[in-house]
Amino acid sequence: MYRKHPAEFFGRMFPITVTGERFGNDMETIFTASIIQSAMELGCIYALVAMALFISFTILNIADLSTDGCFTLGCAVGAVVTLTGHPILGLLAAMGTGVLSGFITAFLQTKMGVESILAGIIVNTGLYTINIMVMGFSSNINLFKCDTIFSMVKAKVEGIPFLASWYKMIIVLVIVIIIGILISIFLNTRIGLSIRATGDNPHMVRASSINPAFTITVGLCVANSLTALSGAVLAQYQKSCDINFGTGMVTIALASLIIGETLIGKGSMLRRVLGVILGSCLYRFFVAIALRLNIPAESLKLVSALIVAIAISFPYMKNKLALFKQIHAARRERMGR
């Protein structure tokens, strides 16, 4: 990146406030509708993983580290089935394998006495080989020549002005909203309440005739089916599948989750699920900003790590700052007297 005058740099960051001829030429390269649009599309797709972590990490209080592998599993299974000409079946098949993966993680920790973090790592490691096998012992597949849910819809809306450019957005939005509503309904059913209680107070759960092994299993199966679905949608969206698609997915989803929770806070399940979706879109927006600032693509993981660290520590630092101000004010008052 060539060096820019600071004013120009800030002009790039805040294109809306800085108008006029000075930055006029530069403005077009900043946030075009298409960049925001694709950030939102990706945000919705990855929101499914964030929702999965919402169930496993926030609700069940389990750090499910099989997320990376499970995401790629969804990608791979979704892609392979899509190649046979059944894109919708591909999504469902991916969810099915996600359930299976979640079941194995849960089985290891509830029936075999493996520590939950370790169970995730073990499954994640095993999945790498399985994913390669699913893709026919190659590290990537492309879907350029076959139908996807996106190409199917595209063929239908060709020529209609608005739909022709926004159809992808609408598809992912419909998927993510349907899943979001289903999840928030699920978490308010009796089984959903049991799952929430398992993460909240295991002591009480056992005293309420709920089998924690069962609730953990159901929770992880649901969570991982969402992770895999996200992978399958992404594979169709990008018309390809790569063994490395899932790398770092835990961190990214966690960032989205925490951003959403920091913004929305506590409340009803639906509100919190919507917060997670919002968080995921915002995260993609941050990444888009980073990309527009010409941060090289290789540094993106570092950027995500920073975003996660900042998002997680933000509420804590805010309290600290308030306390610091209070102490400072008290001290000044004492001095004044």
Binding site: T189, R190, R196, N201, V205, R206, A207, S209, I210
Partner: protein, 269 residues
């Protein structure tokens, strides 16, 4: 009816930390029996409760509840029949869930049909919860949507009591459930406990460090020491007994003074 037949439990067997927590405990409780339990720290009172609820399996002996041998029945299945309240009011409720959600979980014990797994809270359920909360007389009936974490210790313990008895348990285990509350609240929770037990004739075991309670409440007083039940006082002997008699009896049976400050303080009411 609860029957403990010769149950024993040793923790860390074969190590320097070996501790015989329960040794050959025998107990028979009839339906509607309400026994208080006293004993020094480490006498095995809580361990006996944990053996009954199934947080561990006993090394030997049988546990029989209502003619069903539950010695090897897993904890979550037993909890359908057993209500258990702890000293710590935080243990019995899920803090981040609302009052009505907590009550729904307690209500789960009533229903085993799988289709109810996916059912949600109905208006009728909510009305029922409201009625039952009103009985506590703590104003909780208007706070159904609030997370339990916002309640005071006494309110949480009262709620836990309600949850434990929502579906009448075959036996109710009270492990010093009022000890962590301030005197006024403790009094209130204790009164609720008495009312609920009397009203439904629940079989109950209650650990207490208050000698007056030990004699006043229920129809039997059990004395525990070193993992054994050393004395079982009931009937006429119990009605005539004073707190001083009880302490003397303890000294006779155990060969030592009660070592617990709280017990000595509670002697004078």
């Amino acid at each position: 009816m609860l029957e403990l037949k010769n149950i024993s439990k040793t923790f860390n067997p074969g190590t320097v930390n070996e501790k015989s927590a329960l040794s050959h405990v025998n107990l028979h409780l009839d339906n509607g029996d309400f026994a208080t339990i006293i004993g020094s720290n480490g006498a095995g009172k809580s361990t006996m409760f944990n053996a009954i609820t199934g947080s561990f399996y006993v090394d030997e002996g049988d546990i029989i509840l209502d003619d069903e041998n539950i010695t090897y029945v897993p904890e979550y299945k037993r909890s359908k029949m057993i209500g258990h309240l702890f000293q710590d009011p935080l243990l019995g409720t899920a803090p981040h869930m609302t009052i009505e959600e907590n009550l729904t979980l307690a209500y789960l014990r009533a229903s085993t049909k799988s289709h109810q797994f996916f059912s949600r809270l109905s208006k009728k359920d909510k009305e029922k919860f409201r009625e039952q909360l009103a009985l506590l007389d703590m104003g909780l009936e208007d706070r159904l949507k609030q997370p339990v974490g916002l309640l005071s210790g006494g309110q949480r313990q009262a709620l836990t009591l309600l949850m434990a008895t929502m579906v009448t348990p075959k036996i109710l285990l009270l492990d010093e459930h009022t000890a962590a509350l301030d005197p006024a609240t403790a009094e209130k929770v204790l009164k609720l406990t008495k009312d609920i037990i009397a009203e439904r004739g629940i079989t109950c075991l209650m650990v207490t460090h208050n000698m007056h309670q030990a004699l006043e409440l229920g129809n039997r007083t059990l004395m525990m020491d070193s993992g054994r039940i050393v004395s079982d006082i009931y009937g006429e002997e119990r009605t005539k007994m004073t707190v001083d008699d009880l302490l003397t009896k303890f000294k006779e049976n155990v060969g030592a003074q009660l070592d617990n400050d709280r017990i000595l303080f509670s002697k004078e009411k």
